[in-house]
Subunit: 207 residues, 2 copies
């Protein structure tokens, strides 16, 4: 496990343990394989506010979040920013269209909190699959799961009012509300910050 | 290649050729492997209007469209139908959340046109991967591509007005407009049929 940015030894040990437990939970890999894979994994830490990718650049990295929160957003022609996703622990962050085709990204990726990330690129990914076919299988399975969640998110967004979206998010990802700026959350839900504030007041007025 | 429903021998031959060419184009598999895979593939044909899956049922099949168009939609609590996707040739139709977890589906799948489909289920899929690891790789790659398209669709939907969505769809999938009923198209774009009609009139008044 190569640490690309500085974290304390204790933090490093905790992360190794966390990563080991995560791989153990997600896979039925033997200990030896898990340890081998961990040797090849690259970790990055970034401070809150860091922009990992700018709109218009090529996204040549894939990430998996061990700690922290990343925001995906676009700046539209009228200069308005639209938040299109928030990613948190145990989620992959890959802008596949740009990543696979080496095309320019339609999105920014920025750190809403300090983050600890597993980092890969196409070459590292391919070499991992060749070396460990079990990793290709588990990647395929994790992709199908994430794709399923994404399918449901888009369908839900399309068929809900902003207020329903807020309630759904509160149910599905209750922790997220406290972690991200409210104007970004409003944009993600497809409403103005004022509407979000009104909805929250109405919903929680008796609590 | 097993034909589960009746199609003429000539149609069958044409489809075999089409499928052979498709696999040849998508993969670098040798002829022998392609022929072996084709032996294991199951085909279904369904008439326009057929409901392949009802909301509340478990989706235990995955499809790949060789011909035709499938609509994904939900009936909401207020009785309103919301179209959340249209799938056409060379697209996979898998409601992963229901398919992988054997949970009930939030969606209907129905045939907007007569369809010819490749059909699989979890068991057939797993046995295919075990027998042909190359298929697992190509599945992973196709999943990443589709996931990328889905990521862009949701981001685009979130950051566009209904009129922009219409124009984007016209650019990306021009053929779709002619193939699906306009009230379903309007629902898919997040607008009323009247708004869609108004937008089209405005855009095409000088043509």
């Amino acid at each position: 496990m190569e640490l690309l940015y500085f974290i304390t030894q204790e933090e490093g040990e905790n992360l190794k343990e966390y990563l080991y437990n995560f791989l153990k939970k997600q896979t039925n890999f033997e200990d030896k394989l898990i340890r081998e894979i961990m040797e090849e994994i690259q970790l990055e830490t970034h401070d809150k506010g860091t922009v990992l990718l700018k709109q218009g650049e090529i996204s040549n990295k894939c990430y998996f979040i061990l700690k922290g929160c990343i925001r995906q957003y676009s700046i539209l022609e009228d200069g308005k920013a639209t938040t299109t996703n928030f990613f948190t622990e145990e989620e992959s962050v890959v802008l596949f269209n740009s990543y696979l085709n080496k095309g320019t990204s339609d999105y920014y990726l920025s750190c809403v909190e300090d983050v600890v990330l597993l980092v890969g690129d196409l070459e590292a990914e391919e070499s991992m699959y060749t070396k460990y076919p079990e990793v290709e299988k588990i990647t395929r399975i994790m992709l199908q799961k994430s794709f399923g969640e994404s399918q449901d998110s888009i369908a839900e967004f399309m068929s809900s009012t902003p207020e329903q979206r807020y309630l759904n998010l509160l149910k599905k990802r209750p922790g997220l509300m406290e972690r991200v700026p409210q104007h970004q959350l409003a944009s993600y839900l497809g409403m103005t910050p004022e509407s979000l504030s009104r909805i929250k007041k109405r919903l929680f007025k008796d609590i």
